[in-house]
Assembly symmetry: C2
Homo-oligomer: 215 residues x 2
């Protein structure tokens, strides 16, 4: 397998081309770190974007839903596969420049284009659910009750092959115009990080239950 | 003005209706806290979702772009306004349940549906840019060099009226089935927060430049 995704006209940015990345390692790392994605699809001729959870299994991206949700109903109604765009974005920092126009954010994002299929196979659905659990925290899928047949049936899952894929990465400090360098405004980066706080046990949790190592 | 947005068929969820919110205060707070949004539009009949920055000014949402970017070219080519969906999501915590199926995330999201217009008026564009800067950190627009005419011309801005809008909020602990309560798995919430780190001055910043109070 190639180490990189092949750029297409739709995954070649019209601006800031130097920020584009196609190597699988960068793409996988962003998809695996992002806790949510935004799923775009067309409903009655209009674009709809909804946040949801996802997990990658090798070169397949699974996107979670419930059977009655909008995108899953749209996928069920689609003649074959549902055209989607799945985008995951990590915000890494505020970039403050001396000039208004050069302000920016440091970020890493992945855009996956394609046609999603509804997962019907029960074994695949279960594998996708496990991937979603281990995406929350590696090891969690082995430390909870496995879904039963009724629960599996009530869960809908879209699968999207990672084929038409690109990442975009902006990092580093502000890039001001040389004539602005002496302006008195502070310039630099404020790093941002999604930080976990102290785990809060459920109200009815037996206090003897130990906090698992993966938390 | 009503204190709440009026629900429409498109902003009424098919699932988890108790999570829907329409009051302006909740919607505004989420839009104002979220550093980025995901802009969905249709390009050549297919959905596209791109991350970008936004800012709210009263009941108008401004979405930032550059004149050569995909959505801005699409807006320029649109006969009147460009149908879009703008979604902003804040992740507040991991929700770990005893059963696989009740795992979730705590989150707050806003979905704005509508037809966006390109901002052509220079005064409005400047106001939108100021809103974007103050969205990064309140007070920043007064502490940087104002854009000149060339920079303003190179910046594209979409404006979207906040009319067809809904928020969705999931908070609190896991909701396990009663028969799972005695299972030995840890259950609860891991709070998550986007946390700022120590500001990193630009390489060429005069070390005498003080860190502004808003940072």
């Amino acid at each position: 397998m190639d180490t990189a995704y092949r750029p297409t006209p739709r995954t070649t940015p019209t601006r800031y081309r130097e920020r584009a990345r196609y190597d699988r390692e960068t793409v996988h790392r962003i998809l695996d770190e992002a806790l949510i994605c935004h799923l775009g699809y067309i409903s009655a001729g209009r674009p709809v974007v909804l946040p949801t959870t996802h997990a990658r299994h090798e070169e397949t991206l699974y996107v979670h839903g419930s059977t009655g949700s909008g995108p899953m109903l749209a996928a069920r109604a689609a003649p074959s596969r549902l055209p989607v765009c799945v985008t995951a974005t990590l915000v890494d920092g505020l970039v403050l420049a001396r000039s208004a126009t050069h302000h920016s954010l440091n970020f890493r994002s992945v855009v996956v284009l394609g046609a999603a299929r509804l997962v019907d196979d029960q074994a695949e659905k279960l594998r996708a659910m496990r991937a979603l659990l281990d995406h929350i925290r590696p090891g969690r899928s082995a430390d909870c009750r496995t879904p039963n047949a009724r629960e599996l049936a009530a869960t809908a899952m879209l699968a999207l092959d990672l084929v038409e894929v690109s990442a975009k990465v902006r990092s580093g400090g502000p890039v001001d115009d040389p004539e602005d360098a002496a302006l008195p405004h502070w310039a630099g980066v404020v790093p941002l990080r999604l930080t976990p706080g102290t785990p809060e046990p459920a109200d009815d949790l037996d206090p003897a239950t130990p906090l698992p190592p993966y938390l």
